[in-house]
Amino acid sequence: MPADRLSVTLSALADPTRRAILARLALGETSVTDLAAPFDMSLPAVSKHLKVLERAGLITRGRDAQWRPCRLEAGPLKDVAGWLEHYRRFWEESLDRLDLYLQRLQKGDGNDGQH
């Protein structure tokens, strides 16, 4: 089992069906039957995916035994988005510098910025 929370989240997000389920839940809470409808798979198969998402804290299920709607939980997704945002900023700043550096190198006309 993955030890850290990010790994649990990423493992859950690695599957396209699970991402599609999350995208559907972003529109509002839904029953398992309704969730399963667009997918060519059995209810137990969908339930398996839901368990993975639930363990990762990406969804919660209602308590009512008859009607256990699935609900998207934004916390772990926000963490992932936040970390990606860090990388995006890192790249933006490095690429700004790379742009300037390339300009300097080319002005140096083949001297590779040695002076």
């Binding site: 997000l13 990606l84 700004d96 742009d99």
Partner: protein, 165 residues
């Protein structure tokens, strides 16, 4: 040229593209020659007192970024998964964070970066895909890289990636 574009996807991934007014051979060179890399890698004001690269599949890249005020160093080790000159680089963070740098940040160092270079009319468009990877996936890749070394490792690594994705 500051025309970076960020494209959100449903996956834990960011995609950025930017076009540089420079030929691809030069852009490739400043990416793969540590003396050049040290001149631009990192946020504004950071320096790179250490930058060593072994640019081949399975090869390591050590970079120590120093903060603008010199108050702390950020040592990083990356491993190259793919090196296809002058068009494609794939590398991942394999830094040993038990050594203390992690206390400076809560950012997970599990990203895999794929950089591709395309030239048109003397300009180079670079596309960067950064994907967050799970610990198991990263460890698998590192093990494969170290065990297989160079040469054949590429096919093996590609197979691991296919299995995991």
């Amino acid at each position: 040229m500051a025309n970076t574009e960020s494209i959100p996807t449903g996956e834990p991934t960011i995609v950025m593209t930017r076009t540089f007014n420079a030929p691809r051979a030069l852009v490739w060179k400043v990416w793969t020659d540590p003396a050049h890399m040290a001149q631009w890698w990192g946020p504004e004001g950071f320096t790179n007192p250490v930058c060593k690269m072994d640019v081949r599949p399975g090869g390591l890249w050590h970079a120590t970024m120093r903060s603008p005020d010199g108050s702390f160093d950020c040592p990083n080790t990356f491993m190259f998964d793919e090196v296809v000159a002058p068009e494609r680089l794939v590398f991942r963070d394999v830094t040993d964070y038990s050594k203390g740098w992690e206390k400076h940040t809560d950012i997970p160092k599990k990203a895999v970066h794929t950089v591709t270079f395309d030239e048109r009319d003397g300009k180079t468009t670079m596309r960067i895909v950064t994907r967050l990877a799970t610990v198991e996936e990263r460890d698998d890749m590192v093990r494969m890289g170290f065990i297989e070394g160079t040469g054949q490792s590429f096919d093996r690594l590609a197979a691991v990636v296919a299995r995991l994705s």
